[in-house]
Amino acid sequence: MNSPDLVVVGLSHKTAPVAVRERLAFPSERTPEALTRLRAVPGCMEGVILSTCNRVEIYVASDQHACGDGLEVESVKQFLADFHDRSARALDGICYAHSGGDGVRHLFGVASGLDSMVVGEGEVLRQVRGAYEAAHAAGATSRWLNRLFQRAAYVGKLVRTETQIARGAVSVGSVGVELARRIFKDLSQKRVLLIGAGELGELAAMHLTDHGVGRMLVANRSWERGCALAERFRGDAVAFDHRWEAMTEADIVIASTSASSWIVTRFEVEALMRQRRGRPLFLIDLSVPRNIEPSVNAVENAYLYDIDDLQTTVEANLAMRRSELNRAWRLVEAEAAAFYAAWSMPVAGQHGLVGHRVDPKDAAASGVGVHDAGTGDRPVSAAA
């Protein structure tokens, strides 16, 4: 028996605008139905549908005997079009298709976050796993795609640990958290004062709360809004006029108001630091125009970052991730080549298959390297 061929048809943020992607997305509640219809496509043995905000992709293990070369791609495209009541020609130019080793390479790259909008982001790996699990639960996958997707999950983890692709914070909020961690040892012992109810400030406060910051205080001009925010963070509201006392207590101050002048000046912070006996203070100014006088950064033991400072760090981290892309792709290519070599070898019976299965968890835990893990598959299939 010959190995089936792998066919990938899809569209992503790189090929189609969101207005198109949303029309071609598969809502999770319709996925089982879609998978059933996909498997009715002639030649389709197994299928997985990956549908996220940034991509819609269909993975098919196709029976080469039933379909001629190239035919399978067209029928999968046709399925995608039919399912969304569109003509297949509407998909021309926005869809890409891969088959065989290129398809494996593509999936491994996607799982590793190399094709993501924010390079190296981890969400996509969870989405790939989720898509596979949904297909598996619907009975749409079997030996071939099981192996492929388990391997993809392993490669996704491998690439993230072996390269810098997922290193460094890439959002303003997470940069704030990382900086706070460079100043303070244990965030759970620290207090945060949020001044104002701006969107960015709220986001930064949310990040800090997620990372287990001790106590959250909210000082807002509108008392009601302040209370509502404080409730969301399980913190306490402080009267705007009493923000000074709160600042004496706080370790991290986030300013995010719509005020058009300084609400915290250098003179005030100097007095504050004397009251605090020099206890370090981390100030994050997320307002535009800025709310904290920039020279506050010159006050001893006070560290002031404004939105541009955080953005610069975000850019630097993104650049670092991008600079790792080539290395990450080489890793993905090596993994894909090894995997596909084992996949495309003729299989005589069940023995080979059992040997093929590499549990990503086992492989990762035993520290099996890139090439070892890849070639580990080979002797088994050669023997079979």
């Binding site: 990382e178 303070f184 033991n301 981290n317």
Partner: protein, 152 residues
Amino acid sequence: MGDVEFFSIRIHTGLALASYAAFLLACISAVAYLWQERKLKRKDPRLIQQSAPSLEALDRLNYMAVVVGFVFFTVGVGLGLRLAIGTWDRLWDAKLLSAGTTWVLYAALVYVRATSTLRGRRVALLSVLGFLLVVFFFVGVTFVLPSRHAYF
């Protein structure tokens, strides 16, 4: 030299060396603190790309090392002083002077830390200065200035 004296000299030397080791550790953590503090103030975007202990952790390590070193130093020098009183004819000696100066400096450092008179960068600088002084005295008294202090 009696057994007790010989034993005292061993302890005196051991404590002195242990205190130097602690002061060195304090100095290293202070340098790391100053380096990271500078990067934070200058908003170096590469700062958070490397993993490093927080300023607070470095500061605490520094404090601990200074206090431990100071205790060792005090006991060690006290022991040495007792020995010197029993054996030397006069105490006006380069080694004793330098030990006294070092003791005063670290006592001051422990004091400003305990009372939080100074914080952060300044105490880190003081602890680097303290260790430079220790090294200077060590080299100076051992190899340059005359002292009755036998070995170092």
